[in-house]
């Protein structure tokens, strides 16, 4: 056996070991969900007779239809609005020079730096009595949508600025000379090229927003109809864990499914985002 072949076997062995480590807990949960309560499963157990009844029960008892609806409304809105705003801000910072741009951009980046743990309490009080408007936004979708747009635009501005800066300046100049306005340059020349970058941004923002838990816990937990899927899962797990772990496992799988589908169909964009090192915690 040659040294090259040995090295290849060793490399694949290491990759397989780490892949197993990563996938083991996910498989555990999936296998648990495919059992019934009476199987009395402990640890990693392959389902010899897969059963989907836990999924049906979890869906109904956990009211996940509502949770999914809420999560989808919030994630879709945040993704769409953030993408549009980030294209605009990224275009401005990436292709233009204007007074204060060197100060304004770092201010935008503050949105990436501050975690929700630091801002969720002030947000609670701000939304309880919104300054100037004097309305209560707690337990509404706005309480989740607005701060997540804020943070997503911070990341999105960073992301799209990097993209627009990678476009040859001569392309923008050529469009300006051909007669395009600033908006025309963006819409007709840059956005068509930006589709991959926007797709990657959208995937990342959707995944982060779908998975967001702390904001939902603090800002909408008082209204079941506005609870997102991860929050609903947390409440369901707390209630049902001791009684029927298979239902909890099934609920976890259900909540994870949309992200898995997004990843499966758009993994190219997801991996591109990971490799760019632009992920936030």
């Amino acid at each position: 056996m040659t040294a090259g072949r040995l090295e290849r076997i060793g490399s694949y062995g290491v990759l397989a070991a780490f892949a197993f480590l990563a996938i083991y807990p996910i498989l555990s949960i999936l296998f648990l969900a495919l059992h019934t309560k009476t199987d009395l499963v402990t640890g990693f157990a392959f389902p010899l007779h897969p059963d989907l009844s836990s999924f049906k029960a979890a869906w109904t008892e956990g009211h996940f239809a509502t949770g999914f609806k809420s999560s989808f409304i919030v994630a879709a809105t945040v993704t769409a609005v953030s993408a549009v705003l980030s294209i605009g801000t990224g275009y401005a910072f990436g292709t233009m020079r204007f007074f204060g741009d060197s100060i304004l951009f770092p201010i935008f980046l503050l949105g990436i730096i501050f975690p929700y743990e630091a801002t969720v309490i002030p947000l609670y009080y701000d939304f309880q009595d919104v300054p100037l408007l004097h309305i209560n936004l707690l337990n509404t979708y706005w309480a989740l949508i607005l701060p997540q747009i804020g943070q997503s635009v911070a990341f999105g501005t960073f992301w799209m600025r990097a993209f627009f800066r990678s476009v040859p300046p001569s392309l923008v100049e050529a469009a300006r000379i051909d007669g395009a306005s600033s908006f025309g340059v963006l819409w007709r020349v840059l956005v068509p090229q930006a589709r991959p970058a926007v797709m990657t941004l959208s995937v990342l923002v959707f995944v982060y927003t779908w998975n967001e838990f702390l904001l939902a816990l603090v800002l909408v937990s008082g209204s079941e109809s506005h609870q997102t899927a991860p929050l609903g899962l947390s409440f369901f797990a707390g209630a049902a864990r001791a009684g029927d772990p298979t239902k909890v496992a099934a609920a976890a799988v259900l909540v994870a499914m949309p992200i898995v589908f997004v990843y499966l169909f758009l993994q190219r964009h997801f991996v591109r985002g990971m490799l760019a090192g632009a992920l936030k915690e």
């Binding site: 100049e173 300006r176 000379i177 007669g179």
Partner: protein, 361 residues
């Protein structure tokens, strides 16, 4: 209509760098003006100022009778060809060519007819019109970039080193095509290049630039045969003119170390310190009886045999360098000593202090 006038045009960057320094230049309607100079001389910056892509710090720019100094690029009625072509990658060739017309709301039928007409002028096969730039060769992309400028029928073309990405053979071919095209459409053209061959062969006039200033403007022949100063003399011509600093010795002779150069009657009117400029075609291998100043003995530094001629770089006493032009393919060894002479007629004399031209013998 297409006259371009630069009136003390100046560009100073925020860090204080004076990239373009009070340039005065008038380019006549229909003229092909070449801005030539080494990297960093300000030629591209000047072009971009005319295009409106660089803010003008001081002075004015006029296109026709219109002061365009503060005008946006899209309102200046100019078209630009970029070094990297700047073709829109997501659009087909047809869409690239028609983009400016579409922005001007030219009716579709008219637009399409104009695109096909320009494609024909530029030798672009109709089958290429529905391809995207990524599937074109370098030469084809260059033609599409030209076509995008031509299709608009602007008051002026601005070209920023459009041939620099092509191989030597294609560059030579395209040079002639650009010149022929410009004559056909008779549009004022400002062409930037660092390649003096392009400058000499394409321009009606050339403007030699250095450190943000224009050193000399004139027809290529004039700039070559009557350089205004040592910078122009050294920059135009390949191989470069030999420039040798000399001081007055005795009589009509100027010297540098052991190198002695008799200059005849004109010597009396020259300053004490001069620079003697000698082009390679004036330096020939010594032959008894030839009407040459010399002989001078030089040590061979390099030999460039180009088939039809050979250039021999030599250093003579006094550490002065010359380039000898010899006919045919000559064999010579580096380090050997060779005797050569200089034809008197055509020697350039420059002031040793100001470096400005004094006379050409």
């Amino acid at each position: 209509m297409g006259e371009i006038r630069l009136d003390a045009a100046t560009k100073v960057y925020a860090n204080g760098v004076r990239a373009v320094d009070s340039v005065e230049l008038t380019i006549a309607d229909g003229e092909f003006m070449v801005l030539v100079g080494p990297s960093g001389c300000g030629k591209s910056t000047l072009l971009r100022m005319i295009a409106g892509l660089e803010h003008v710090t001081e002075g004015r720019i006029l296109i026709g009778d219109t002061d365009v100094t503060s005008m946006q690029p899209r309102l200046r009625d100019i078209a630009m060809v970029f070094q990297d072509y700047a073709l829109y990658p997501q659009m087909t060739v047809r869409e690239n060519l028609g983009f400016a017309l579409k922005l001007r709301r030219v009716p579709k039928q008219q637009r399409e007819a104009r695109v096909v007409e320009v494609a024909k002028i530029l030798g672009l096969d109709e089958t290429l019109l529905d391809r995207k730039p990524g599937l074109l060769s370098g030469g084809q992309r260059q033609r599409v970039a030209m076509g995008r400028a031509v299709v608009r029928q602007p008051a002026a073309f601005l070209m920023d080193e459009p041939l620099s990405n092509l191989d030597a053979k294609l560059r030579a071919q395209t040079r002639g095509e650009i010149k022929r095209l410009q004559r056909t459409v008779n549009t004022t053209t400002v062409y930037v290049t660092h390649d003096q061959v392009e400058a000499m062969t394409m321009g009606d006039r050339i403007a030699v630039m250095s450190d943000g200033r224009i050193e000399q403007v004139g027809a290529p022949d004039t700039v070559y045969s009557r350089p205004a100063n040592t910078f122009v003399a050294a920059f135009i011509g390949s191989p470069a003119m030999a420039l040798v600093e000399m001081s007055r010795a005795e009589g009509d002779t100027f010297a540098r170390g052991g190198l002695r150069f008799p200059l005849g009657d004109i010597a009396a009117s020259l300053p004490e310190e001069i620079v003697v400029g000698v082009r390679p075609e004036l330096c020939r291998l010594w032959a008894d009886g030839a009407d040459l100043v010399g002989p001078f003995d030089g040590t061979i530094d390099y030999v460039e045999s180009l088939g039809r001629e050979t250039f021999i770089g030599v250093t003579v006493e006094g550490d002065a360098g010359f380039v000898i032009e010899a006919e045919g393919s000559l064999r010579a060894t580096i380090g050997e000593t060779v005797s050569f002479g200089v034809a008197r007629r055509g020697i350039h004399l420059f002031d040793g202090g100001t470096r400005a031209a004094i006379a050409t013998l």
